[in-house]
């Protein structure tokens, strides 16, 4: 061997070693190695392949290699499944390199060498040698391979270390390695964060947790955690991290033994399980709530059931309700107060325990129960215990107050809602019970009325069949209830005419079909035994809620006696008037004869005074006449024979009759009639009476030498007749009184004028009986008066 070749070998050797040591990654190692090998064997085709930690190969490629290896190299990845792999695993000549291949590449031999470190194969070097390739120096290739192996192993270890570090550091869980003496040998960053410790490594695990006491409370003592490692079992502990007295975080601590032996130490994992714990707490609460709801629902169902069980005994309702309420609210105390409007107070109705409450509470007091009632609002408050006061209301009417108390926990909105539901039911129950009592009381009262009234009450259904028949009805008709009920109304209450004919039409159809109310109609009925009785009956329909007529009621009063009394009264008036008139007629007649000198002459004084007697007597006669009229009008007995009449003739008569009276005072009567007057519906006698009164009044109150004018005007369906005078007139104050009985006493002129004081009252009533109106207008005292009245115009009958 020459010096130069030795120097060259030496330089390649040291140079290669240096290059290998300064490499930074496995591919660099492979390139340096294959360069060195190809330089060492001039012309040799060399490739170096390294296997990484997970079995991947890295190749240094300088040569065109046979296809299987080539394709693997192209992918940059050769795995045990790569074709040709099996040929690589054996040290020595790869089996896939056939003689053909060698020839093709002009190679004589192929040598494959493993790159190893500590018995572990880290890669391969494949060397193709040509015929002219020299022999390598023994030991040099092995040295390089060993050096490359060491470098590859070093890189692999570095990579693994980096992986594990980054893995540890990136974990949110805290990891601590503890040796068999309980000393912390390593800890990742999360441990520091979770435990807020400084440098834990080197310290004792027990001390680490002791330091945290007060801030972190574990479910066991720090000592217990420290010894857990020695048990050889995996143990889990929990701890709460508190800040300013509040739990902010929950920690889970798992101590796992390493390597299955106490001597190997242990791994401590710390996890922040706050969200998990919170979720668990939430879930537990939800379960609790669900259980409570279930219990509440079942209580509510019980309460709902009470409604049907109780009936309408209020005391029982109150007590059972309070019992249920107390159990629902888990409150030992409950009380019910109800409002009495008459006393303006709340009264104790029921309570648990029964004796613990005031009997009444003034609305004006500051007691929370009074306040809840007045404000209509549920309130919770704290006295010596927690209390919940709630008004009971139905249809926005507050009936009273319920109060539950004595529970340890504060009442929440949920409780208010729940109790509101219950009290709403209670309110309805109370209201129903009250209505029931009310209806009962009413029914009893109505029953009493029905049984004991003097008036016959008959109730009939939609078809007119009798369904109710009270004892007074029996007295009236003489039919028993058994005979009457179920019969048609018209067969039991037989209405007949005064002549005794059966009246076929009964008013009940007007009541049932037209929903008419008929009041106080006088009916003659024939009883079962043929007696005839005058009744005054009122008929009314009975409606259902929808306003439909379902039935009807008749209330009948026996007015037979009234009628008889009325007749006696009427006779009395007739008799009195007859008896009064008879002597008055005698006075009038004799005086008239005396004054007409039938029995000889009279001196002037005798004549004058007897004339006065005659006038006074005449006034008395007029008064009796008017009083009689008033009594007829007021008793409704006035008989108007109203028929179409032509008013002209009557007016002419009246004017003719009164002209003489006017003449005495030099008063002209003037009838202003430009055209034919329409027929009016009137009773001619009464029309005459009306006109006489008005015209006579006009003459009486006129100034001498004036005119009384009668005018006519047709207005709509009315004929308006106006009598105008020029006389003393009417003052506004008198206008209101002038048509009243004896209204004239307010008029100073009237006494002079004579008269009874009933004239205008009778006229007004007569006009109104005709369906007309009467009124007076005046321009003031001393300026005359205008009296107008209207009468209905008779409709023209069509000519047939």
């Amino acid at each position: 061997m020459s010096d130069t070749s030795l120097q060259r070998v030496d330089s390649v050797l040291t140079d290669t070693s240096k290059r290998l040591l300064s490499t930074h990654q496995p591919s660099e190692v492979l390139r340096v190695l294959s360069d060195a090998l190809s330089q060492h064997w001039s012309g040799a085709a060399v490739t170096a392949i390294a296997i990484d930690g997970v079995g991947r190969l890295e190749a240094k490629d300088d040569v065109n290699w046979p296809k299987p290896l080539r394709s693997a190299l192209n992918y940059g990845l050769i795995t045990p499944s790569t074709p040709g792999w099996s040929g690589l695993v054996e040290d020595g000549a790869p089996q896939w390199l056939s003689t053909d291949v060698l020839e093709q590449f002009d190679l004589t031999t192929i040598d494959a060498r493993q790159i190893q470190f500590a018995g572990q194969v880290l890669g391969y070097v494949i060397i193709g040698l040509g015929a002219d390739s020299g022999r390598p120096l023994p030991g040099i290739v092995d040295l390089w391979l060993a050096q490359a192996g060491a470098m590859l192993a070093n890189f692999e270890l570095q990579r693994r270390l980096a992986d594990s570090t980054s893995l540890q550091e990136s974990m949110t869980s805290g990891l601590m390695a503890v040796d068999h003496l309980g000393v912390i040998t390593s800890a990742n960053r999360s441990v520091l964060e979770l435990l807020s410790g400084t440098n834990l490594v080197g310290g004792k695990l027990e001390d680490c947790f002791k330091e945290q006491e007060g801030r972190i409370n574990f479910d066991v003592s720090p000592g217990r955690i420290a010894t857990a490692a020695s048990t050889g079992r995996e143990l889990t502990f929990y701890g709460e991290v508190s800040e300013a007295g509040e739990v902010v975080r929950h920690l889970q601590l798992i101590v796992s033994p390493l390597g299955g032996s106490a001597l190997a130490g242990s791994m401590v994992t710390i996890r922040d399980v706050t969200p998990l714990i919170e979720k668990t707490i939430e879930a537990n609460e939800a379960v609790g709530r669900a259980q409570r709801h279930t219990r509440e629902l079942s209580e509510m169902a019980d309460i709902a059931e009470l409604t049907s069980v109780f009936g309408f005994e209020l005391e029982e309702i109150y007590n059972k309700f309070l019992g249920k309420l107390a159990s629902l609210m888990q409150s030992p105390k409950a009380v019910l107060y109800l409002y009495q409007p008459a006393q303006q107070k709340l009264y104790f109705k029921a309570g648990l325990p029964a004796t613990d409450f005031p009997k009444e509470i003034e609305l004006s007091s500051s007691h929370p129960i009074a306040r809840a009632f007045v404000t209509k609002k549920a309130t919770t408050y704290k006295s010596d215990q927690n209390e919940l006061v709630l008004p009971i209301s139905v249809h926005s009417k507050v009936l009273g107050v319920v109060c539950v108390s004595g529970r340890q926990k504060v009442y929440l909105d949920h409780d208010v809602r729940l109790i509101s539901l219950v009290t709403a039911r209670l309110a309805v129950l109370i209201e129903n019970a009250r209505l029931y009592h009310d209806v009962n009381a009413r029914r009893e009262r109505w029953e009493a009325v029905f049984q004991f009234t003097d008036e016959g009450i008959v109730i009939f259904d939609r078809k007119g069949l009798i369904v109710g028949f009270n004892p007074a009805s029996v007295g009236l008709t003489k039919y028993s209830p058994r005979e009457a009920i179920g019969q048609h109304f018209s067969r039991v209450v037989r209405i007949i005419t005064a002549e005794g004919h059966n009246l076929q039409i009964t008013p009940i159809y007007q009541v049932l079909n037209e929903a008419k109310t008929l009041t106080k109609i006088e009916q003659l009925i024939e009883t079962k035994n043929g007696d005839r009785i005058w009744t005054e009956s009122s008929y009314s329909p009975i409606f259902d809620n929808a306003g439909r007529v379902t039935s009807g009621i008749v209330i009948m009063r026996n007015i037979q006696k009234d009628r008889e009394v009325e007749e006696i009264k009427s006779d009395f008036i007739s008799i009195v008037s007859h008896e009064l008139r008879t002597p008055l007629s005698a006075i009038k007649g004799f005086l008239d004869m005396i004054l007409k000198k039938d029995f000889g002459s009279l001196n002037d004084k005798q004549f004058h005074y007897l004339t006065r007697v005659y006038q006074s007597n005449q006034r008395m006669i007029d008064l009796v006449e008017d009083l009689l009229d008033v009594s007829y009008i007021e008793s409704g007995k006035i008989n108007l024979n109203q028929h179409p009449i032509a008013p002209e003739a009557i007016i002419t008569d009246v004017v003719t009759e009164l002209a003489a009276k006017g003449f005495e005072k030099q008063i002209t009567l003037k009838v202003n009639r430009k055209q034919r007057l329409p027929l009016v519906l009137a009773d001619d006698t009464r029309l005459r009476q009306i006109l006489v009164n008005l015209v006579d009044n006009a003459i009486k109150y006129s100034f001498p030498k004036s005119e009384v004018v009668i005018d006519f005007k047709v207005s709509g369906d009315e004929l308006i007749t106006t009598v105008t005078d020029n006389g003393v007139g009417v003052s506004p104050a008198q206008v209101d009184r002038i048509f009243q009985k004896f209204g004239r006493i307010y008029n100073p002129m009237s006494i002079q004028a004579g008269g009874t004081g009933l004239g205008l009252y009778i006229v007004k009533r007569l006009v109104e009986s005709h369906g007309g109106r009467i009124w007076v207008s005046t321009r003031g005292e001393g300026k005359g008066a205008k009296f107008s009245f209207s009468l209905p115009v008779a409709k023209q009958l069509p000519l047939i």
Binding site: I573, S574, S577, H578, R581, T582, P583, L584, S585, A586, K588, G589, F590, D592, M593, K596, D598, I621, V624, E625, L628, D629, Y632, K637, I638, N639, N641, T685
Partner: protein, 126 residues
């Protein structure tokens, strides 16, 4: 001169009307009730009957009906003379007209003079 029958139960009124008619030279026969009137009419035929309505025993309408039933009496004019109220008069007027009464006077409305005048006019019309 005419023969007048006055049927009237009140003695003072009888005296009054009698005085007036006699002053006017008429002959007056008086009956103080309905029965008496009918009895007297058995044997007596007046020129005119002045008949009160409200009387004891038989009232004026019954008497009127009897008179109109009897052919010998039917033609005698009858004037009702009453002190009943106008209401009753109204109610009775139709009945009176149906029974063929000639006139209907209310005592307190008319002086004896006016009654005599009515009687004279009725007799003249007949």
């Amino acid at each position: 001169m005419a023969k007048i029958m006055l049927v009237e139960d009140d003695a003072i009124l009888v005296e009054m009307y009698q005085a007036k008619f006699e002053l006017e030279a008429h002959e007056v026969t008086v009956a103080t009730n309905g029965e008496e009137c009918l009895e007297l009419l058995e044997g007596y035929s007046p020129d005119l009957i002045l008949l009160d309505i409200l009387m004891p025993k038989l009232n004026g309408f019954h008497v009127l009906k009897e008179i109109k039933k009897r052919p010998v009496l039917r033609h005698i004019p009858v004037i009702l003379l009453t002190n009943l109220g106008e209401q009753e008069v109204d109610m009775n007027k139709e009945l009176a007209a149906a029974l063929g009464v000639n006139d209907y006077l209310i005592k307190s409305h008319h002086t004896p003079d006016e009654v005599v005048e009515k009687v004279v006019r009725t007799l003249a019309n007949n």
